[in-house]
């Protein structure tokens, strides 16, 4: 499914430049970076509450399609700056990871 459609349907906040016209294939949820590295698949949408700079390295290395920050967590400026550089969109929602997963499932992601 297209990321811009997910953003619209779930009312997500886009924290990076609006580079969201890309495909999403599946979802991965996790806050332990080693597990995300080992188990997430390419083009996954990654739901996490981690917000520091290193999430961008993980997303780039795995080839994730975007990072979705749950629970409305604050995201550091340097994380957003780096995300813009490497074109990894950062999205945010006040919902929990579970609620987001349910909504994404209903959407058919």
């Amino acid at each position: 499914m297209r990321l811009d459609k997910i953003v619209k349907e779930l009312g997500l906040e886009v924290l990076t430049e609006r580079d969201i016209e890309k495909e999403v294939k599946g979802v991965y949820i996790g806050d332990l970076l080693s597990l995300v590295m080992a188990n997430a698949s390419e083009n996954n949408l990654w739901i996490t509450i981690q917000t520091h700079l290193n999430i961008i390295a993980v997303a780039t290395l795995v080839g994730l399609s975007a990072i979705l920050i749950a629970e409305g967590m604050e995201v550091e400026d340097e994380t957003i700056k780096k995300a813009n550089e490497v074109k990894i969109p950062i999205l945010r929602s006040k919902l929990s990871a579970y609620e987001l997963a349910c909504r994404l499932y209903e959407l058919g992601v």
Binding site: L32, L33, M37, A38, I55
Partner: protein, 145 residues
């Protein structure tokens, strides 16, 4: 195959440098992709080098990642100066970690680093001298025989 045909990359890794952490592995990934190496292999190398990089950032006083790419395989050396590993067998166990709490809160210290590195490698070796250094060697074959 011509053994002289290889690419050598070297990256200095600094202690506690979370800002630049992941840059070495990102660069290595980019180069492998440009060389047209299969995505599955690129991913293995990316995970192995990232975990090695983070280990040096978190646990050592600093070190380096050296990568040699040949037509047959990718060799990765992660070498650091630091406290070393007292019990390697224990450190290789999934879930065992000596990372402090403030590091765990950032999502590191899951005790998965070394096991992930081993899983991604076709050949794996780790040697350490406590209070001196740790050296990890990994080989990932590009064309498995």
């Amino acid at each position: 195959m011509n053994e002289k045909n290889f690419i050598k990359l070297e990256y200095e890794i600094l202690q506690n440098d979370f800002t630049r952490a992941g840059e070495a592995s990102s660069n290595i990934k980019k180069i492998l992709k440009q060389l047209g190496i299969e995505a599955k292999i690129v991913r293995k190398v990316a995970i192995a080098t990232y975990e090695a990089e983070m280990n040096i950032v978190i646990h050592s006083y600093g070190g380096m990642i050296k990568v040699i790419i040949t037509e047959q395989y990718v060799d990765i050396y992660a070498i650091d100066k630091g406290p070393g590993i007292k019990d390697i067998e224990l450190a290789m166990k999934e879930g065992y970690s000596t990372a402090p709490n403030h590091i765990r809160e950032l999502g590191f210290g899951a005790g998965m680093g070394l096991p992930n590195m081993k899983r991604c490698s076709d050949e794996f070796n780790i040697e350490s001298i406590p209070n001196e250094k740790t050296e990890v060697y990994m080989r990932i074959y590009i064309n498995k025989i």
